[in-house]
Symmetry: C2
Subunit: 639 residues, 2 copies
């Protein structure tokens, strides 16, 4: 996978712009935040925590205190990981030097036995490993392992990898050799250990990942016993909601996506990754069951997951409220991770369709177009005066803040958008899978002896062209191209002529001996489509959402006379699309609809008047970039 | 008012049945609950708390402990109040004897200085009056004062009134004579003191009520200072949400109904009652502003209030979610109290229309038809699997439980339904106002020298007949009859002939010298009507609710192939009504509509098929009496 990132250079104007934005704005901005150099925003102190830990370890004392969330370290990890991906494409000596300095600092904050965590080193040295439920030690370790792997693969420098190998060894010693009980309260280390394993080939890391997957929920009372034994708490957690932490039953018995959504999809990603390596059919089946439950019963049309603020969690099947959605950016990122692993298990477009849905809608909406503000929560309906204000809507902010006290999402967006190449392709023997349609160059020199140039205006353009560049004369291979579910008809031509291909699991398999004269062109039907939700989704009764290509659309007040709530769309209205320069360039949807004029009464016994009107819709990812206003994805439909 | 209760004997088959049900089932059932004689339900211990307090005061020690909510005493008070009303109509020596015994016990639990509260007497004697924010001492006192007034007026026995006079004197001494700071965390004592004042003519009680109204919110930090000074808490309340307790600003400056809905309407009732007595225009204006905010921006179509579980509270204008509504039964009862007082301030049908809306819909829904189960929360949409189960819907139970740990609602329903006569009439000089249409006999012997018999099949029948029964030959008077907002045309005839009347504030004023030959008949237009919500109410976009007369209707699964979520109603469908024996006799509404067949997919790009179907609606008050099933008040409308 990481090789595919290394081998694919994004160069298109859409995701390419985001990649560049992450380099130019997001990474430097977040570095400043982590170093507390941005005024008027939530304090981070994340780098200072490492300084404090280092100083304490080196001098035995330190005046500074730990500040922030117990998982504050992971903000640094995610930023380093994002920087590592970015350096791969955009070498930057200055940034690399600063990363090296941060890594050196991290090294100084590591204890002699390999233990690394500034919260416990600075604040509670005697409480290491005594509160796996809340304390995020394994979670922070996991994120730093991911950063270590990314930095090693990107720069060739292994200092952080060595640091994290020592930490992984420390964890191995404790949980495997010494047989300590327990499993992480927040999954993450499992998927990270699998990355460490692939990078270092150290079998212990795979064994450790498998161990945490296997023991989870077997003793479902572990966290209760732990809290009785050690008797301390971070958040006053005395309820031990087992579903929240997905340890209510062993993972292979889990059939519904429950609890904290980010924990859930990080866990499932780890499960799928272990299943890939171990070929464990029961584990694969559990992953598929959980996948189906998410995507068929618990996912928003934007690829967002987590219906409730309470526990940032999944709730019940078909409970998908639009205005109070939690729909955390990180959870959709985790869903992309999960989808990526499922694709490795099984080449089926339902995984890549969802990966695309989550990326182009919820995740992109998580960041302001200028890269400087972020949504943690991504509601599908926003009403100023209620959203962000009513007690039930405090989490559903109508505008993106600059930073968060719990800052998991912004650096998560950064690391995803700077590594988007990891999600675009799979390579399996002589078959290359094209999951996402992103312009750029795929280097297959070491395997299939050539390159593929991809040219596209995606997600707005309807064409993707694959140009083959064999090192010698031909590339003997199969290109498997996803046939997106949203495209009613997808036409594939080779050098302008129809060509034969086999279709399987939502992919078109084109086998040939491709020369540098060959151009495969895929043309999608980019007609605007109406999306209908299951009638079991109470909040979307008789409503419709709009999409064009992979993009889900929404109506924003600013384009619709400042009042979206009174709008309905005409059932059979013709839709027009028009390219607009606004919002960095979008395709707008315009159509006829109605506006209901209800007057001042709360309730009326007279049918309100309706006027015909023109509706304007914009892509959901671009909402909230033009000030405070109403927004709605699902619109009522009328005859 | 209490005279009007005494003077009006309900005898119709609708509210009369409820009154009888309260006597036969609810009062004996709740007595058993309070005495812990009902198995398999929440323990009450409310009577035992009084026993424990009495024993402790008499012997200086007691093995039993206080159990329950800090306001557990109020359950006994509300039950006594309900029993008092019931005894007025249905004398019952046995019940009266048991009430006397409970009152004697209460007397024994009163401290020498007049203080009465079992929580503080048994559990925390040293903490009296040190936590007005949470400890409900004034609230419990208020409820017991209401019971005392009711029992004295009903039975002529003043023992409880004497007890509560001593308690009121104790409170007067503390807050007026000694000048103690503070005001109640839960308003109630204000309206109760006004009842004490009217009953005893003791001006001190009016002065005390006025005092609590006047000081509220003037020092809006009082609860903060109190908690800093005494440093103890019942619920770990360290946030001091001033809006929750309506002390954010002085009451005359309050313009939005905020915070805990029951606290709010109890406060506003007290404010209105003080304004009636003091003729305080500023206070009257504040009441009207708050009334308008509730009824024009924050009230459900069922007369329910409180949009959020969090704080059992009002939220923001037009935020009226159907499935997560709090809509507490007690809050609608409080809204009825408020409406009643507003009618005393101003004879305008907007108060009586709302009083009727709340009574016939939300409040009646609060009790199972058999009188043995109760709703605390009255949602307008219920989905088994989500309602009562999703973390956001835990409060919105899909079926009525037998009792609650916090049992405020069941005895509140009992006292309201056994005193419904208080809300039916007003008498002002020679004018009698007919606010609600309830069959029975109004005794005006001592004022207008006669009686009025009211005959009606309301709320199902469309006619109300007023038969005059002068003591001598004529009753020289004005009958002012409410013209309900829901009736498109209301025809009033005197002895079958049209008659002249003046219309003002939604009332028809008929003046005459009525003899025993005179029958005034009012005929309403009881056509089924569609109700449309303001487009600002996001949850009701393009939806419609149905009503017939005062009753709001709903669709329940059991009448609609177990699936209400896929139903929509036809815009111009003819509606049929048919009388049914089910649910103790109702009028059902049937009409043509559509069922959407969406299949198994969560999202589909194909328009789902629709089938025409027949919809059946039942009155909202009767829902949830036939097992677990879906329910919806607001239904999407289609062409």
């Amino acid at each position: 996978m990481s090789d595919l990132l290394k081998n694919f250079t994004v160069s298109d104007s859409f995701l390419g712009r985001y990649e560049k934005l992450v380099k130019d704005i997001v990474i430097p901005y977040q570095e400043k935040v982590l170093k507390d150099e941005i005024p008027d925003t939530e304090k981070s102190h994340a780098i200072e925590n490492f300084n404090a830990a280092a100083k304490l370890l080196e001098t035995g004392k330190c005046d500074d205190e730990f500040y922030g969330m117990v998982f504050q370290d992971s903000d640094v990890a995610k930023w380093l990981e994002a920087a590592a991906y970015s350096l791969l494409k955009y070498p930057d000596k200055e940034l690399e030097k600063r990363c090296d300095e941060v890594i050196a600092l991290i090294g100084r904050a590591q204890q002699k036995d390999g233990y690394l965590n500034t919260y416990f080193t600075v604040k509670s040295p005697d409480k290491r490993w005594t509160n796996l439920e809340e304390a995020h030690e394994l979670y922070c370790a996991g994120h730093m392992m991911e950063a270590a792997v990314a930095y090693a693969e990107s720069t060739g420098k292994t200092k952080l990898l060595d640091i994290m190998s020592r930490m992984a060894d420390h964890i191995y010693k404790r949980f495997i050799e010494e047989g300590a009980e327990g499993y992480p309260g927040h999954p993450e280390v499992e998927l990270a250990l699998m990355r460490m394993y692939r990078c270092t080939k150290n079998e212990k890391y795979k064994e450790l990942a498998e161990h945490f997957i296997n023991v989870r929920g077997v003793d479902s009372d572990y966290f209760i016993k732990e809290s009785e034994k050690y008797n301390w708490t971070i958040w006053g957690n005395d309820c031990h909601n087992k579903e929240y932490t997905q340890n209510h039953v062993p993972v292979r018995k889990q059939t519904k996506a429950v609890g904290h959504a980010v924990r859930a999809v990080y866990l499932y990603t780890g499960m799928a990754d272990v299943a890939i390596e171990t070929n464990d059919q029961e584990l694969k089946d559990a992953c598929k069951t959980l996948w189906d439950n998410i995507t068929q019963c618990r996912m928003y049309v934007t690829g967002a997951i987590g219906s409730a603020y309470e526990g940032e969690a999944f709730t019940k099947d078909y409970h998908l409220p639009n205005d109070t959605a939690y729909a955390e950016t990180c959870a959709s990122i985790g869903l992309i991770f999960f989808a990526r692993k499922m694709l490795d298990l099984e080449k089926d477009s339902r995984y890549s369709d969802t990966m695309e849905r989550a990326l182009y809608n919820c995740v992109l909406a998580g960041m302001q177009l200028d890269g400087e503000k972020f949504f943690y929560v991504n509601p599908l309906e926003v009403i100023p005066g209620i959203s962000g204000e009513a007690v039930t809507h405090r989490h559903a902010l109508p505008q993106r803040p600059k930073w968060f006290a719990c800052a998991c999402c912004p650096p998560n967006v950064a690391r995803l958008l700077s590594s988007v190449g990891r999600y675009v392709w799979s390579e399996e023997r002589d078959t290359v899978y094209s999951h996402l349609f992103v312009g750029g160059t795929l280097d297959l020199t070491h395997t299939l002896h050539g390159k593929i140039d991809v040219v596209t205006e995606y997600p707005y353009g309807d064409k993707v062209t694959y140009k083959f560049k064999p090192d010698d004369t031909v590339m003997n291979m199969t290109l498997a191209i996803r046939l997106p579910q949203w495209s009613k008809e997808t036409i594939i031509t080779l050098n302008g002529k129809n060509c034969n291909y086999e279709t399987k699991g939502g992919y078109a398999y084109l086998t040939g001996e491709f020369t540098d004269k060959d151009e495969l062109t895929v043309k999608f039907d980019m007609s605007v489509r109406r999306i209908f939700a299951s009638s079991k989704v109470s909040s979307n009764s008789c409503k419709v959402a709009f999409s064009r290509g992979p993009l889900v659309y929404c109506a924003e007040g600013i384009d619709n006379s400042d009042d979206v709530l009174s709008l309905s769309v005409k059932k059979e209205a013709e839709v027009e699309t028009c390219t607009s320069n606004k919002l960095n360039g979008i395709v707008e949807i315009k159509m006829d609809g109605y506006r209901t004029i209800t007057g001042d009464s709360l309730y009326s016994l007279e049918r309100p008047k309706t006027e015909t009107c023109k509706l304007t819709l914009i892509p959901y990812y671009a909402w909230g970039n033009r000030g405070l206003n109403q927004m709605r994805v699902w619109l009522p439909e009328e005859e």
